[in-house]
């Protein structure tokens, strides 16, 4: 019943003798009953699909889902991907999309959290309003913004024309040069509240005494933020940025509903591209190979994610 940190756990597992481990597992059999449902669901819905995707990535597949008629072709799917021009285009888009969305969402969310940290009249209401975009569905958000960007009746275009800044409403999402930034604006609209909630939660853990001590020592507001608040929030920030980065890297709905990856692939990111390869063009083998590459990239993300989280845990155990 005691809480043991990962270190002791590891040391125990390193003890020689397989029968010892088996005996230990047997002794703890009642504990596994608690996690078994979670693990079972995970196995069916994650482990099997991963195995199947890896297998499929080495095969040439017929259209339709008659996947029994597949033929083994080794690494051909992978070389086909890496030598195609679309691959690099889509990778570049994904990079801009992920870094842009994550960076700006985090900065806006963090700033909003700081501004909301001090109590003032109407703070609760304001906070609730700022969170709403995160709660509503991405499908609804996509339609709302599609209407706002509409090239004939969109409100932003109308304002620009009304102010005399444009002769006619710009084609925000129908033009190669503006589509990606336009979609990023929508994505940030939906994502910054998450960063805001996380950082607000983090800010509550910054000890007040430290800030007051810094004030007594003559630190100004910026110095207090930079030397006291920010270092204290390093862990929360890391976790928030990683969660945002992964969510953005994996986002599908906004680009898919707003543009379907167009015009001329300008807003295709990896996820929408894979979806189109699989369900649009029925190239299951190539799509699977893409998924495996994606998987490798995400495992790299995952390594840092787990490290950031277990950093949290270790500090907790020693405290």
């Amino acid at each position: 019943m005691t809480i043991v940190t990962g270190k002791t756990e590891a040391r125990r597992r390193l003890q020689p003798g397989g029968s010892g481990l088996l005996r230990k597992i047997w002794e703890h059999r009642a504990d596994y009953a608690y996690v078994l449902p979670a693990i079972a669901v995970m196995l069916v819905v994650i482990a099997y699909p991963i195995y199947y995707t890896i297998e499929l990535s080495f095969f040439s597949t017929p259209p339709g889902l008659q996947l029994r008629d597949k033929t083994f072709i080794g690494f051909d799917n992978y070389t086909a991907i890496l030598t195609s021009g679309v691959f690099w285009k889509v990778t570049w888009n994904t990079l801009i999309w992920t870094v842009g969305s994550t960076g700006i969402s985090f900065v806006l969310g963090f700033a909003a959290a700081l501004a909301l940290h001090r109590d003032f009249f109407g703070r609760g209401v304001l906070r609730a309003i700022l969170i709403i975009p995160w709660v509503i569905s991405a499908v609804a958000a996509s339609y709302i913004w599609k209407w706002i960007y509409h090239s004939d009746f969109g409100i932003i275009g109308a304002v620009l024309v009304g102010l005399g800044w444009a002769d006619r409403p710009p084609n925000f999402i129908d033009s190669v040069s503006t589509v990606l930034p336009s979609l990023i604006v929508v994505n940030i609209w939906r994502e910054f509240p998450f960063a805001m909630i996380m950082m607000m939660a983090g800010l509550q853990t910054v000890p007040d005494q430290l800030l007051r001590a810094a004030k007594v020592d003559g630190a100004n507001a910026w110095q207090r933020f930079w030397h006291v608040t920010f270092p204290h929030l390093r862990n929360v920030s890391t976790v928030t940025i990683l969660l945002l980065a992964v969510a953005n890297f994996n986002s599908f709905i906004i680009p898919w509903i707003m543009t379907g990856g167009g015009p001329s692939n300008a807003s295709h990111i990896w996820i929408t591209h894979i979806y189109e390869l699989a369900f649009g063009r029925q190239r299951w083998g190539v799509a699977s190979a893409y998924s495996v590459l994606l998987f490798i990239i995400l495992m790299t993300f995952g390594y840092f994610y787990v490290r950031a989280l277990s950093g949290n845990d270790r500090r907790d155990g020693s405290a």
Binding site: H28, Y32, V45, A141, Y143, D152
Partner: protein, 296 residues
């Protein structure tokens, strides 16, 4: 910083004299964020009460000159075919999301408790494996899961969605709840055990009530995730009467792309349940993140 009351007279006097740039910067920034957040939603509402003709004007009518609830009436009227479909999508979403929420809590609570309290072999490995689920996009699993669901006969049933949605919510749910249980003193359970309770009874009677905010937060998170999910519902379901709202409204308006008032009304109705749920219970959610996800 937050102790305005404590430093009252002198502090306030000084504040009145000196211009506080940080505070004013913060206020201006909040106004900007409020506009960025709220204007699209206000524009959705204003469009939804226009007629189709009034929406298609340039320059747009900022305020509808003849506001009408026709779009809402059409969607919510069980007498016509549009209303029948829409209400069915709504109930489908409600059913799938509620089932997912209940199952998520049932699965996540004991798992999080075990990860927090017990020291069975493989505990850390299993915990981080569960967390890794957050990493993977839905698209990777789409083809194999479709084939799997077809093999076990779940394609075109809501069961396929509930089973898949379970795995989205679980990682964060388990993580949040584990943080909660970590902060509940073990001594409370030990006292209960001394009084004769079994380990399971101590868990149900002592620990569960204390973690109510965490459980509510978990439930909200699962519900919102399931309510808003699109890609699996889009792939797994083909019959019109089974669709959930996000897919349903897309089918609705893909033929008739000019009915923006109807589309905005549908988007609004789709947003109402989750926004209300969240606003009513948000303090639990924020508290759960404070106590669960963000360690002191």
């Amino acid at each position: 910083m937050s102790t305005i009351a404590g430093t009252a007279p002198r502090g306030q006097a000084r504040r009145r004299i000196r211009f506080d740039g940080w505070r004013w910067g913060g206020r201006i920034f909040l106004v900007f964020m409020l506009l960025y957040t709220a204007l699209p939603m206000i524009w959705m509402l204003l469009t939804s009460i226009k007629s189709g003709f009034a929406a298609m004007q340039f320059p747009p009518q900022w305020w509808p000159d003849q506001p009408t609830l026709a779009s809402y009436q059409k969607l919510l009227d069980p007498q016509n075919s549009v209303g029948q479909d829409f209400l069915r999508f709504f109930w489908n979403s409600l059913f799938v999301s509620t089932a997912t929420t209940i199952l998520s809590v049932i699965v996540a609570v004991p798992a999080a408790y075990a990860f927090s309290r017990f020291t069975f072999p493989g505990r850390n490995f299993l915990f981080f494996t569960v967390l890794l689920r957050n990493m993977f996009p839905a698209v990777i699993f789409l083809v194999p899961l479709f084939i799997l669901m077809r093999a076990i006969g779940l394609v075109n049933t809501h069961g396929s969605l509930v089973l898949t949605y379970l795995t989205f919510g679980l990682p964060l749910a388990i993580w949040l709840l584990k943080g909660f249980y970590d902060n509940i003193p073990v001594q409370l359970e030990q006292a209960a055990r001394i009084d004769g309770a079994t380990r399971f009874q101590a868990f149900i009677l002592i620990v569960m009530p204390l973690s109510t905010p965490g459980i509510i937060a978990t439930a909200i998170y699962s519900f919102i995730g399931a309510w808003n999910e699109y890609i699996y519902a889009y792939t797994f379901l083909s019959k019109n009467e089974q669709l959930t709202l996000p897919v349903g409204i897309q089918r609705f308006f893909s033929e008739n792309t000019t009915d923006f008032p109807g589309l905005m009304a549908a988007s609004f109705i789709m947003s109402v349940p989750v926004v209300v749920l969240f606003l009513v219970l948000q303090r639990y959610f924020v508290r759960a993140l404070t106590e669960g996800a963000v360690k002191h």
